[in-house]
Amino acid sequence: MIRMKDVSFRYLNSTEGVSGIDLMVNEGECVVFTGPSGGGKTTLTRLLNALAPSYYTGTLTGTISINGKSLTQMPQYTVARQIGSVFQDPKSQFFSSELAGEAAFACENYGFSAEEIRDRTDDAIVSFGLNGFRSRNLDVLSSGEKQKVAIASVYALRPDIYVCDEPTSNLDKTGAEQLAAVFKQLKAEGHTIIIAEHRLSWLHGIADRFIYVRDGRVLWERNTAEMEQLSPEERERYGLREITEKGDRTIQTPTRNTDQFPALCVKSLSCRRKKTKIFRDINFSAPAGQITAITGHNGIGKTSLALVLSGLWKEESGQVVVDGRELSARERRKQTWFSSNDTGTQFFTNSVSEEVLLNMKHSEEHLEKARSLLKRLGLYRYKDVHPASLSGGQKQRLAIACGVLSDRTILIFDEPTSGLDGGNMKIVADVLREAADQKKVILVITHDDELICRCDSEISIDDCANERKMFNVML
C-alpha cells in the first residue's frame, strides 16, 4: 500500500511542483493521474518512484510511505527493487543494443547469480512475447516494441509496483494496444500500477480510479463508471480525451466548398531505400482548403510517404503534381513543409520567437500573425525561452506554429497531437483549420481518432494482398 500524506514538493530554482497531496493506493489497484499538460502528473510519478527529490532535487514536505516504511529514507536502489519505473521515450533508455542484455540490465545491477539473471530475463522475454527479437538490433524496433522491451527490463526485477509516466506518448495506436495488453497482464498478476496519462481510451478495462491533477493539486477523483458518465461538455471543460474507444470514427466536419480541382495530385508514386521497397504505386489527390488525414497500419510507410511528398527523399518512380505542374524533389522542398513527430531535433535558434521567424520575412503583418498564433497555442509567455527547455507537448505545438507560419502551400504534419491533452488537441485542430482556410493543402498523418473526426477526409494506406511493403491507396 502506498500512502502520500499532505505532500508538497517544489523543484529547486523553480515555481513548479505539487502541493497538499493526500493519496492512498491499495495493493493490486490501477490508478491513473490525468489532467492538462504541466499540471503536475509527472511530478507525482517522480515522487512515487523517489526520483524526486533524490535525482530531481527540490524541497519535499509531508510523508510518502510504502507498506508503512518512509520512501525518502530508503536509498534509491532499494526503492527501485519494489517500484519499477517506465518513462515516456523508450529509445533513450536503453543501455544495450540487443534484447537479452537490455532486459537483464536491472538484474545485473543487483548482482544476482548468473543463473537467476538468465531465468528472470528469459521469463520476462517470453512473458512479453519478445522471443523473436533476440537477434535483432533494438534500434530497428518500432516504438511500441521498444516500450515493451523497456517494461520487460523492469519486469525481470519483479517489482510489486509499476509507476509509468505517459508511457504511450511516443506510441501510435497499435503500440498503445500492445501496451494495454501488457498492463492487463501485469494487473492480472496482482501488481499495483500507477500511470500518468492523458490518452485515456487505451486504459479501458485496466484503470480502477482516475485522479485529476491540475496546477499541482488533486481536484477530484472518479472511478471508471463515473468517468464513463462524464458528458462531452464536462470532458471539454476539464480538457480530457475520450474515455472509451469509439466504435465508429466518422468525420463530423460538414463538407466545405472547396475547389473541385485537386491542388496536390500523387500518381503511382513509389519509394525505395537501399534495396528495400518502402511503398509502391500510391495514387491520391488532396484539394486545397481541406485537412486530409492519412491513416494506416504501423510501419506501412506513412512517414516515408510524407518525406517523399516534401522532397526530403527522392521518389523511385511516379509523379507529384501540384497545381497542375509536376514538381521535382527540389521544387517540392520549397513548397512543402514537413513537421516530424520527433520534435527533439527540429529547433535551431535560441528562443521560441526567433524559431517561428527563422528564414522568414520580418514584416509587421507577419510578426502580428506570429504573436497571435503563439498566444492561441499557449506559447506566448514562453516566447523568450529556449525551445529545448519546453515540455514535449509545448514543442509539438511550436513545431505546428512554425509550419503554419511558413509561407509554403502544402503542410504535412506527422502525428501532431500524440503528446497533447484534450484541450490542446482541440486548439491544434482549430489552428490547422484556419491554415486550411487560407487555401493551403493540409495533410495530417495520425492515429488520433479525435483529430481524424475533425478532418475533412481520410486517406487510408492499407496492405494489399497481405504483402508487406506492397499496398495501394484508396481514396
Partner: protein
C-alpha cells in the same frame, strides 16, 4: 544456447598476439600469415559479413602490392606507403574489429568478472550506446535543416558559421537530454546498487576458446621465429 563467437579473454589475447607480432616483426610481407589466421578466426565465429568485406579489401591490397613491386605501378593519391601499411596492419584490423563489435553485454560481463568498478562499466555501456544514437540524431537534424531551407548550398556557403551552429546547437542539446534520460533510466533500475554486478553472459571458456588461444600463441611465435625479430 551455443555461443558462436569466442569469449572476451580470447578476443583480447588474439588482439594482443596480433599487435605484438606486427610490432616486433622485421618481415613486412610475411604478415599475411597473421592476416590469414585472422580470416580463419572470423570464419570459425561464423562472422561471414566481416569475412567478406575484409577479404575483398585484402585481395585488393595484394593485387596493388604485386603491381607496385613487379609492374612498377605508381599511384598519386593512395601511395605505396599506405598500401604497405594497410597490408602490414591488416591482422590488427581484423581482430580489433572483432573485439569492438562484441555485444556490449558480454564485454561488461567480462569486466565485472575482473572486478572493474561499476562506474567504469556503466561508462563503457553508455559509450557504446552513444555513437548509434548520435548517428540517428544527426540524420534527423539534417532532415529538418533541409525542410526549413537551412541546408541549401547558398545558405551553407554564405553563412558557414551560422550553419554550423544550426547543426551543433540541437545536437548538443539532444546529447544533454539523452544523457539525462539514460541516467534516470539507470538510476531507476538500481545502477547505484553497491556490490558486484551480475551478468547474463557469464560463461566458461570452452575447448574451442582454449584451442583458439593456443593457436594464436603458436602462430605468433612461429611467425616471429621465421620472419625474424626487428633488431
Amino acid at each position: 544456447m551455443q555461443r558462436k563467437n569466442f569469449a572476451v579473454p580470447v578476443k583480447l589475447w588474439a588482439s594482443g598476439c596480433a599487435i605484438v607480432g606486427i610490432s616486433m616483426t622485421s618481415n613486412t610481407v610475411l604478415t599475411c600469415i597473421l592476416a590469414l589466421t585472422g580470416f580463419l578466426y572470423l570464419s570459425v565465429q561464423h562472422n561471414w559479413r566481416a569475412l567478406k568485406s575484409f577479404g575483398v579489401f585484402y585481395i585488393a591490397m595484394a593485387v596493388l602490392l604485386y603491381l607496385i613491386r613487379y609492374q612498377g605501378l605508381h599511384m598519386v593519391v593512395f601511395s605505396e606507403f599506405y598500401v604497405l601499411m594497410f597490408w602490414n596492419l591488416f591482422a590488427v584490423f581484423i581482430v580489433g574489429w572483432d573485439l569492438i563489435t562484441t555485444p556490449p553485454g558480454e564485454l561488461s560481463a567480462f569486466m565485472s568478472r575482473i572486478h572493474m568498478p561499476t562506474a567504469g562499466i556503466l561508462g563503457l555501456l553508455v559509450m557504446f550506446r552513444f555513437f548509434p544514437t548520435m548517428k540517428a540524431e544527426l540524420k534527423s537534424v539534417w532532415l529538418s535543416m533541409r525542410n526549413r531551407g537551412l541546408a541549401a548550398p547558398c545558405q551553407l556557403l554564405l553563412h558557414p558559421v551560422v550553419s554550423c551552429e544550426y547543426v551543433l546547437v540541437p545536437l548538443l542539446l539532444r546529447c544533454l537530454q539523452i544523457a539525462d534520460q539514460l541516467s534516470v533510466s539507470a538510476v531507476a533500475r538500481g545502477a547505484e546498487a553497491s556490490g558486484k554486478r551480475g551478468s547474463y553472459y557469464e560463461k566458461d571458456m570452452t575447448i574451442k576458446d582454449w584451442s583458439c588461444l593456443i593457436l594464436w600463441s603458436v602462430v605468433t611465435f612461429l611467425f616471429l621465429w621465421i620472419g625474424g625479430v626487428r633488431a
